[in-house]
Symmetry: C2
Subunit: 360 residues, 2 copies
């Protein structure tokens, strides 16, 4: 089969890790008889430097017409880069928010799991790790505080800022369905996280999730308050299968969840909408400090490409093959510097890509 | 000296732990020549059962007239208790929000530190713990999403909920000052946490905190995004001295911070306003499952009483004495069940109170 992939290397380590993901995709294409047609697009700082904005309408339109978007990372060093002297809506990260909204990618899937070979990197004690953990955060991505009305005004001589957190039942319903569907394919446990003891949007959230749950009697639904969830992730991560939550809570909790794995360089993500068109990117950032040094871990991006095969192209077998290849390379002891420990073989970004491509 | 203390035992283990805190306070009073006059007040479920509301106006008025408020905990078992079939504004936790707002307690100080004798209980690996950690979260407590306008309406046939997150510069300034003052008395490092790359209130927050920082050239100020902070707490908690943040972020981050100590039964909190009148309560909840069983750890409440002596009564020496007493009892090996480990001596709530009172 043939697929068009909009590729956005972005900033920092973006170009290096994207290169390796393409290498692995092409190998999978060769083995299974597919062709991936890449269109390189600019976003974030890379786009600001050329167009003065982090995402142009033309780029967005091109992305819309492709079968999937593969993204490296956007953003620079806040203290150092000139991009951050621009107003917020012109900074690199604004491009990311714009493409999410523009492609209506309301469901952000962020797995956080402990790789058997990387247990040492986990910051938690052995007793807490127990049998290991393997969860996925399903985060609402196009609503809430991120896209509500906001303003900063002067009232009675005082500067005052307003942000609005809104959700309607349809927005909640579609992400809830995404959560239940995800749980159904896994261990069938969905924990919906909110702050229903304080805010209205969380109370509506809880109610609608419960309603949607009636269509999924095979999935065990529970509710948890966001502050408690922030604790439980540290205390007993193994209790979670799928965590379903709104945009801002999901931003915080998914980052916490990825850090407790100790291997954020390994974690992919998928942002999905109503159609097959999805955006795939590593959970980590653009790491400007190590950009261009062949040090970056390309595995999260390669695993994001695997998610792309699964969710956008329905190539489950090919996706599994890539995931298996990553695990094999790990078990053979190859490591990039971020996950290096004594006794392992240190390799650079490109070599890591070669090794994984070979295994595919 | 003489002090009037409004005592709110509350629900669950509240009465038991408050009893021990009073025991220790009275001992300190005897040793140092002070008298504490207690007025017992109802709040939370205990108040609902009697008055039908979680906090009456009379109770609030009495609290206002006292020198300080000492609180056990409020709330019941959500799945079990009848309190949770009431509308949100009549549930136990609404009493807590009402007293915070009613007493204008805008600054919530929540220490999270590793007790030398309880390192084993810390969920983090030795390498991460390093030299240990000792931070304090200064959380804004009377603004943000907690107290903004909210509504749930039907629009175009769809239920839709609105919450508002607002801050004006004066609200930010006063909590920022509380943060800087706290840092000044400690290791002089203040990390202000926000989501300035997305929301307006965070951008204003960052700006005003920077302005206030000019009055505190001796304190090192840094900014961090909330998602990154959720990661850094797990990755390297030792980097933090004082974390300053808004209400909802503070709710989440302070709970995460207390869980990484592994000893949430040890952590006190203080909620302060413009006057000396403060509210002091343990960071943990009402633990209805173990209520009345003499199992609860009273140390967090006893340490909250110590904070009361320090912040509301200016009795620094007496506060230090109580804190030292807690540490001594720990180092002698006495433990309640929540922090028990092999080789220690298990004691009940009342015995733990006796032991600490003895040391004072
Ligand atoms: C860069 C930022 C706007 C973004 C977000 O907050 O969504 C990032 O933290 C993420 O989680 O993808
Ligand atoms: C009970 C609840 C309303 C409260 C809050 O969210 O502030 C609690 O979680 C806390 O942190 O004191």
């Amino acid at each position: 089969m043939e697929f068009s992939v909009a590729v956005i290397p972005g900033d920092g380590i973006g170009p290096e890790i994207i290169r390796e993901a393409k290498k692995v995709l092409d190998k999978a294409g060769k083995v299974y008889g597919h062709r991936f047609h890449y269109t390189e697009l600019l976003m974030g700082g890379a786009s600001i430097d050329v167009h003065g904005v982090p995402l142009t309408e033309e780029t967005l339109a091109t992305a819309k017409k492709s079968d999937a978007v593969l993204l490296g990372a956007v953003g620079g060093n806040v203290g150092v880069s000139n991009w951050y002297s621009l107003p917020p809506e012109l900074r690199p990260e604004a491009g990311l928010l714009k493409i999410r909204k523009g492609l209506e990618l309301f469901a952000n899937l962020r797995p956080a799991l402990l790789f058997e070979d990387l247990k040492k990197a986990c910051p938690l004690k052995e007793e807490i790790i127990g049998e290991g953990f393997d969860m996925i955060v399903v985060r609402e991505l196009t609503g809430g505080l991120y896209f509500g009305e906001r303003k900063t005004v002067v009232e009675n001589g005082l500067r005052k800022a307003y942000d609005t957190l809104t959700y309607d039942e349809e927005e909640i319903r579609r992400i809830a369905r995404a959560g239940f569907e995800t749980a159904r394919k896994r261990r069938k446990k969905l924990c919906s996280v909110d702050k229903a003891n304080v805010i209205d949007s969380s109370r509506l959230w809880r109610q609608v999730v419960k309603e949607v749950g009636k269509d999924y009697p095979d999935v065990e639904l529970s509710d948890m308050l966001v502050d408690n969830c922030a604790m439980q992730l540290v205390k007993d991560p193994g209790q979670f299968d799928v965590i379903l939550t709104e945009n801002m809570f999901g931003d915080i909790l998914s980052d916490e969840a990825s850090m407790i794995t100790g291997s954020i360089g390994m974690l992919p993500s998928a942002s999905l909408g109503k159609t097959k068109l999805g955006l795939y990117e590593p959970s980590h950032g653009s790491a400007p400090d190590i950009a261009g040094q062949n040090k970056a871990n390309p595995m999260a991006t390669i695993l994001s490409a695997a998610m792309m095969l699964r969710y956008s192209f329905d190539l489950e077998e090919e996706a599994l093959k890539i995931e298996e290849a990553v695990r094999k390379v790990l078990s053979k002891g190859y490591r990039t510097v971020d996950i290096m420990s004594p006794g392992n073989v240190l390799v650079g970004t490109d070599k890591m890509g070669d090794l994984i491509a070979e295994e595919v």
